[in-house]
């Protein structure tokens, strides 16, 4: 009965959330900031969850997320830039004739293909990243803890350097970056408007990751995190499971990277520098290493406070004719850092720790409070 209550509550809250999204879609004009923040949060939530799968659940400290995101972003962008815009985008060095021929061929395919094409582009980018991860994984997954972190960090930088190198001008447009990337497509023939698409894609992907974590594979990942030797003695193949986690994490990071390309409409290699990985690591740590709901919550809180809620610290402020000092561009980042320190000091293990959001916990808290009140009265 409790389970059915929880299911009902979950379905209702998902419905409410969707209704809010549809309402925002109706009133786009005044809510541009909110919509854009929420979309970015949805994308970062997916990367954070995929990073959490690797760092939090499998215990592999990897910092290669930005690299895999850039693979997804570039692949998706190259596949999606409309043929008629190609010359404008590659105005300096021209485009590789093979890619142009492929794109001309694809653009001639029937409408039903064109409507699923953006999603196929996302998946192709993700698969490409997964293939790279499976090759690189053979080498880097032999490393442990800090060494793995440094190797993956280096890998991410190598990918970024490759994408901006002049040798790849015809494909990635080198240091000029790519623009004129089409925005989010609509889904199910317009049933889901473009604005809501990233939420649906992220939700589906995160659900898949959660199902994986709850399966026996997920248990094996956690066993590896807890104790490699004991896990191996149970018959869990360390290499197989580590590379599986690495590949799946890279797949979803790249998919989110592709969505980021659609969100930003123009990308360059600099977007995917180490700081992007750190931003995601921040989300994972704030949300709680080993908690999926924590990562989702962290993605929204970090994105919103970084780009929106703290904005007024950047404007000069005058109180009763007194010009408050320090209120100028960049001050919000100081406040943001202080807030982060406070959060980390209060919640040592992130907002959610290793727990997941559950209705039982919320109801349990209410009950506990009520009991305490009754206990005090008697």
């Amino acid at each position: 009965m409790r389970r059915s209550r929880n299911t009902v509550l979950s379905v209702i809250s998902a419905g409410v959330f969707l209704a809010i999204l549809y309402m925002l879609n109706m009133n786009r004009a005044g809510n541009g900031m909110l919509i854009s923040i929420m979309q970015k949060s949805a994308i970062f939530a997916l990367v954070a969850v995929s990073m959490n799968l690797l760092n939090g659940f499998t215990g592999l400290f990897s910092l290669g997320q930005a690299g895999f995101m850039s693979i997804g972003a570039y692949t998706t962008a190259i596949l999606l830039i409309p043929v008629q815009s190609l010359d404008g985008v590659y105005y300096m060095n021209g485009i590789n004739p093979g890619i142009r021929a492929l794109k001309v061929f694809l653009s001639a395919l029937p409408p039903w293909f064109q409507s699923v094409y953006p999603f196929m582009a996302l998946i192709v980018g993700a698969l490409f990243a997964a293939v790279i991860a499976s090759i690189v994984g053979v080498a880097v997954l032999r490393l442990k803890s800090d060494y793995l972190a440094i190797a993956t960090l280096g890998l991410s930088e190598i990918i970024r350097a490759l994408f901006s190198s002049p040798q790849l001008d015809g494909i990635t447009n080198g240091s000029y970056g790519l623009n004129k990337i089409p925005a989010f497509p609509k889904m199910f023939g317009g049933l889901v408007p473009p604005i809501i698409t990233p939420f649906i894609v992220s939700a589906v992907c995160i659900t898949l990751i959660v199902l994986l974590i709850r399966s026996s594979y997920g248990r094996a990942f956690m066993a590896i995190r807890e104790d490699e030797i004991a896990a191996e003695a149970m018959g869990i193949s360390l290499f197989k499971h580590k590379s599986m986690s690495f590949i799946i994490s890279s797949f979803f990071s790249a998919l989110a990277g592709g969505m980021l390309a659609m969100y930003m409409r123009s990308i360059e290699a600099k977007t995917f520098s180490i700081t992007l990985t750190y931003d995601i690591l921040l989300i994972v740590v704030i949300g709680g290493i080993g908690s999926v709901t924590g990562s989702v919550l962290g993605a929204f809180l970090v994105t919103a406070s970084k780009e929106w809620w703290l904005r007024f610290f950047d404007q000069p402020l005058e109180l009763f004719g007194w010009d408050v000092p320090l209120f100028r561009t960049g001050f919000r980042m100081v406040i943001f850092s202080i807030l982060l320190m406070v959060v980390v000091l209060i919640y040592r293990r992130g907002l959610m720790g290793t727990n997941e959001f559950s209705w039982d916990r919320i109801f349990g808290r209410f009950k506990w409070k009520r009991r305490k009140v009754q206990g005090g009265g008697s």
Binding site: R219, M222, A223, I229, A230, A233, M234, G235
Partner: protein, 238 residues
């Protein structure tokens, strides 16, 4: 044919010889113990059998099949499991999750449930604590969990590395009665102990390991009465 036949097993760590050609047998339904001081090569023997470390020479035969060079996964699949030294339960997973991990290679859900019932039958305490994180269990309970987790794989041969390590004497007694119970249920036990007294009392046969070689062998009771062993391992003064 013995269940497990070790012939001339050699293991080296870098240049250091850990096992210098040891041979022993484990018959079906027996409890066999390897005793010896620190560094005699007891744990190394078990880890070599499990394929967790490479061996430098010799053969490991299990039911007439060669185990050398096989993956740990395959060896577990054949029914040989290890209860590692120091218990090594997964502290942040629940008792139930720990037990399910023991049956990781078993894909048949019905078999897993049956094994779970059997383990709960042996250790009712684990059933009471099935929702609790393994790290919060007491030392004795963790050892039960480690044994239970190994039993989830439905083993023919269970190998235990120092099950009495760090446990109170009363709990040690309990653990050894559990080992006897497991053995009566038809599982062959290969036991490694520093606590030679209890180990030899429980075991049908014992082998004494000294710096990488087997120095003595015989039925558990006989070894227990041997003057040399009493001096070397049981703390009796001459």
């Amino acid at each position: 044919m013995s269940l497990l036949e070790i012939r001339d097993l050699k293991v080296c760590y870098g240049g250091i010889v850990a096992l210098n050609g040891i041979s022993f047998d484990v018959e079906e339904h027996e409890i066999v113990t390897l005793i010896g001081a620190n560094g005699a090569g007891k744990s190394t023997t078990l880890r070599a059998i499990m394929g967790l470390i490479p061996i430098a020479g010799g053969t490991i035969m299990y039911r007439g099949e060669k185990l050398n060079g096989l993956d740990t996964q395959k060896i577990v699949g054949k029914g040989v499991v290890l209860v590692p030294e120091g218990r090594r339960v997964f502290p942040n997973l629940t008792t139930l999750e720990n037990l399910r991990l023991g049956a990781y290679l078993q894909k048949d859900k019905a078999v897993i449930e049956a094994n779970l019932e059997r383990v709960y039958g042996l250790f009712p305490r684990l059933k009471e604590r099935h929702w609790q994180h393994a790290g919060t269990l007491s030392g004795g309970e963790q050892q039960m969990l480690a044994v239970g987790r190994a039993l989830m794989a439905d083993p023919k041969l269970i190998m235990m590395d120092e099950p009495s390590l760090g446990l109170a004497p009363l709990v040690v007694k309990e653990i050894f009665s559990i080992i006897r119970k497991v053995n009566e249920a038809g599982v062959t036990v290969l036991l490694i102990e520093q606590n030679a007294n209890v180990a030899l009392k429980t075991a049908n046969r014992g082998y004494v390991l000294e710096t990488g070689t087997v120095s003595m062998t015989g039925p558990g009771r006989a070894l227990l009465e041997d003057e040399q062993i009493r001096v070397a391992y049981l703390g009796k003064t001459r």
